[in-house]
Amino acid sequence: MMDTNPGSREVDVAVTINGAQVRERVPARLLLSDFIRDVVGLTGTHVGCEHGYCGACTVIVDGDAIRSCSTLAVQADGSNIRTVEDLADGDQLTPMQQAFHENHAMQCGFCTTGFLMTLESVDSADYQDKERVVELLSGNLCRCTGYQNIVTAVCSVWGVDD
């Protein structure tokens, strides 16, 4: 007989996240974003819309930026995941993080981690004009900044004419 309780089926999920091995038995329906935030405890990955639109939950899975709010944890089984917590080296910010700071490219900061992961996932050589940069950034929503300073920050690091 089919189990009518949708939350009762559990699966093993084993991933490498920011270089550490994690193996947990979790509900099959658990979203990757909730796995990262609530099971692993990395809360820098934010949930802004839960339908894959705003990009705040962006993480890198096996090299690709994905929306962790519309991915099941079990889909990431066996993968290598990077989150925003993996960017800075201790106290040392990455050039992109530093540029966000110096260009006032964030206000409330809720979207910032998603932007950083989108940027981290690409090769800047593929984004050497401003239009391409704007197109790339258009996958992430920000409600505070009006985006202008984010574009400026990215262009300054990637050597693109702003």
């Binding site: 939350g7 949930v47 705040a56 910010l93 993080q97 900061g109 809720f110």
Partner: protein
């Protein structure tokens, strides 16, 4: 103590370099960059359970019965509470006596009046199970549908279904006005005409939804809530639950934006501590985006029916306006009645225009309650005023820039008394307009040339002059609170300062600007200043962050507290220097006798004497070095005079926005080609942060001008949105680049001359875009009087202008 106006930095302090006025980089940045910033959804407590609210799927219905059995039977479900269980919680306060009482309860009982109205709460081991159970409660709730009203016309129809049975009609507010001079102007004017303007239903939509974590232990409530007003949440919980207020601690953790939507006190703020107390466990509720779209306040949703009297020479003689706001069900605290009054009061923008008569209406419908959103009524009014000016220009053939030039406020008119009682303290209205017009004229020429060879594209320009009332009274909004805010300032034994503020930060960099203010007012470096806010136990009572008020109230309260700290510090230093206090000055952080550099005593020596080595204090002096300032902004009025006039804002920033658009006739495609902001918020504390506020404000204004609208089914009043797919939130590709320039006209009565800048950016774009599109398509007879100006709205306007079967 009376407040000196204007308050300045204590003249006994001199410093290598002042920090006020500098683009100090934000101290708040590192945590969001590294994923360490803690928003409410990031907080967990041991033993915590998760709550999901059950929300009405009906626009208007009676709740016949709720069977919680199936939900309670689900493994992992701890409890289900309905409105009836909260019989020991008082309804939300009703403090404004001229509006109808809605009798809002924490959870809806017996009747629901909008989709999204919370009527039950489920407590479970995790959010997934809680949502399963919430669905079961919803599935086992029997509703008896009632006829719904979806918009103003339906609500005001003679046989309209009533939302509140004991009201005579659906007016929450009906506040008439009649002015003899307006009536006379209509009799005397060469011409008159009528028009209608519409600002649709929109909202602030911070990227972080709301959320509450409540923990009640030994009768002590700790509540983490993503709110702009933690002290007001505390007072309201105490009033509704009877829990003694000192036993309630409300903490605003890092916030992911608010934009006004989080100024309101929501049912969840009250229900969550009630649940925690009832079940003896910490409980957390994190709003999801669908809930946020239907249950956090909406805003705008205004219609303005105007009559305009004008002369052949382009003089606008008088305007009569019926200003309607569709406030949804009205079930929100504070009520959503204030924005339309702000619209009415500020509708004349940056213009000298006294002959204005506004009849204000707030109307209830079966939609999400409306309330605060950045701009708070001002953008709606600007759309009307600039639209009228352009219309009169078209009708008379007088140049639209020339009409504005004749009407725009001049410096020698300051202070200027507006038709509704607003007292514009100062500003650069004419200068800002001229500069914006000059800047936009350059790009207009270039852009026209660019499209000269494309017959399908038209180019147009829009101009605006707005005022931004800042630091408003809360009394007219709440019927209860008024206008002050507070700072408690302490210098610790190591010579570093710590300030607690009654305002909050929702992402606007308040920690950084507050540290600049404290640094200059104590002669310290910003790095030596710690800022604490958003915690009712660690910061003094204050009204929070809204209404572009933080700049003025922080400046005033910090300067008051700092002056008091300085008086005592100076006495201590004088004692140590064996000098008279009045001879002691503070230079580069060291106290010394004026005219001589040595010997000196440091802040650390003074503060160590005050807290630790109290044996070093002057005989009989009370130990300690902590002082508070409770600052009530001068000139701010809280109640209207006998004629209904009130200066409801402490100061008035101003600005001129202008923009050039291109419109593709065949598709209605609209693009902002250039956008110019000339902005004046008085003395600037941190120009970088101010530019950020302007940029973000313009982006939200553009969102409202071109994209965003909550649509409801006109038959059923059911929402036609459930996600960002149906409510178009602009991305980087949609927001135009803009040029920003500033004038700095200090507020003559406010501390340091600051005015406030949180909302100005949002005010201009709706009117700029509407006027620019009308200009671009003028030869087709198109007039845009509603936002958002979407391609389909443009195509429809073109079709209508060209008549039945029109070819354009």
């Amino acid at each position: 103590m009376t407040v000196d106006s204007p308050m300045r930095i204590n003249p006994m302090i001199s410093h290598r370099a002042a920090h006020i006025g500098r683009a100090v980089l934000r101290r708040e940045d590192r945590s969001p960059l590294t994923g360490r910033r803690r928003y409410v959804a990031d907080l967990r407590l041991p033993g915590m359970l998760e709550v999901a609210f059950v929300r009405s799927p009906e626009a208007h219905a009676r709740i016949v019965s709720i069977d919680t059995g199936p939900a309670l039977a689900l493994p992992g479900v701890h409890a289900v509470f309905t409105g009836a269980d909260l019989d020991d919680v008082a309804p939300f306060p009703h403090k404004i006596l001229y509006i109808q009482p809605v009798g809002q309860t924490a959870l809806a009982v017996d009747r629901v009046r909008y989709v999204g109205s919370p009527y039950a709460a489920v407590v479970a081991t995790d959010r997934y199970v809680a949502e399963d159970a919430a669905s079961l409660v919803a599935a086992h709730t029997e509703f008896e549908s009632l006829p719904a009203v979806a918009d103003l016309d339906q609500a005001l129809a003679p046989d309209a279904p009533k939302l509140y049975d004991d009201w005579p009609d659906n007016y929450l507010v009906n506040y008439p006005a009649e002015k003899e001079e307006v009536t006379r102007a209509f009799e005397e004017a060469d011409h008159s005409y009528s028009d209608t303007f519409i600002s649709p239903r929109q909202t602030g939509l911070p990227l972080e939804c709301r959320g509450v974590l409540a923990d009640v232990v030994d009768g002590q409530v700790t509540l983490w809530s993503s709110t702009q007003s933690p002290h007001i949440v505390r007072t309201t919980i105490a009033e509704m639950t009877g829990i003694p207020e000192p036993r309630i601690r409300v903490i605003t953790p890092a916030m992911g934006g608010g934009f006004g939507t989080k100024t309101h006190i929501y049912p969840e703020d009250v229900v969550m501590p009630w649940i925690s107390r009832r079940i003896g466990r910490p409980v957390r509720w994190i709003e999801d985006r669908f809930e946020n779209l239907v249950s956090a306040v909406h805003a705008r949703d205004q219609r303005h029916d105007v009559d305009v009297a004008y002369d052949d020479d382009g003089t606008i003689r008088a305007i009569r306006c019926k200003a309607y706001c569709d406030v949804g069900s009205g079930e929100i605290f504070m009520p959503g009645t204030a924005p339309v009054f702000v619209t009415g009061g500020c509708i004349t923008g940056g213009y000298d225009f006294p002959n204005m008569e506004v009849h204000h209406f707030c109307v209830v419908t079966n939609k999400t309650p409306a309330g605060a959103y950045r701009g708070f009524g001002v953008p709606e009014g600007l759309l009307v005023m600039e639209g009228i000016i352009d219309q009169v220009a078209r009708r008379t053939g007088v140049d639209r820039v020339e009409i504005r030039r004749r009407m725009v406020l001049q410096e020698d008119q300051m202070p200027y008394l507006m038709h509704g009682g607003g007292r514009i303290d100062s500003g650069s209205h004419a200068k800002s307009f001229e500069r914006a017009a000059e800047l936009i004229a350059r790009s207009l020429e270039r852009i026209r040339a660019e499209y000269a060879d494309d017959p399908d594209v038209r180019v147009g320009v829009g101009y605006t002059n707005y005022v931004e009332p800042t630091t408003p009274t809360y009394h007219l909004t709440t019927g209860h609170w008024a206008g002050y805010d507070s700072a408690t300032l302490r210098v610790d034994p190591d010579g570093a300062a710590r300030v607690g503020l009654g305002t909050t930060d929702l992402g606007q960099g308040t920690e950084t600007t507050a540290a600049q203010l404290v640094a200059d007012s104590l002669g310290l470096d910003p790095d030596d200043v710690t800022v604490v806010m958003g915690d009712t136990d660690r910061a003094p009572y204050g009204l929070g962050a809204w209404g572009s008020r933080s700049a003025i109230v922080m400046s005033g309260s910090i300067l008051m507290a700092a002056d008091r700290v300085m008086v005592k510090a100076r006495e201590i230093a004088a004692h140590m220097l064996e000098a008279a206090a009045e001879d002691v000055v503070l230079t580069n952080g060291e106290f010394h006798v004026a005219g001589s550099e040595a010997p000196s005593v440091s802040w650390s020596q003074v503060a160590t004497a005050a807290w630790v080595r109290t044996v070093d204090l002057p005989r009989g002096m009370e130990p300690g070095l902590e002082m508070s300032g409770y600052f009530e902004p001068p000139e701010l009025e809280h109640l209207p005079d006998a004629s209904g006039k009130v200066n409801a804002a402490a100061s008035w920033s101003n600005g001129a926005h202008a923009g050039v658009v291109s419109v593709r006739i065949s598709t209605g495609e609209l693009k902002i080609e250039d956008y110019v902001v000339v902005h004046d918020c008085g003395t600037m504390i941190n120009p970088m942060i101010i530019d950020g506020q302007v940029q973000g404000g313009v982006a939200q204004g553009v969102a409202g001008a071109m994209y965003e609208e909550f649509q409801y089914d006109p038959e059923t009043a059911l929402p036609r949105f459930a996600s960002f797919m149906e409510y178009l939130y602009p991305t980087c590709s949609e927001v135009p680049e803009m040029t920003i320039e500033h004038f700095e006209t200090p507020a003559p009565e406010q501390p340091l001359g600051v005015k406030g800048c949180g909302e100005g950016g949002t005010i201009g774009p709706g009117a700029v875009v509407a006027c620019a599109v009308s200009d671009a398509l003028a030869d087709l007879g198109v007039e845009i009087k509603a936002t958002p100006v979407t391609p389909s709205a443009i195509r429809q306007a073109i079709r209508e202008a060209s008549g039945p079967g029109g070819g354009a």
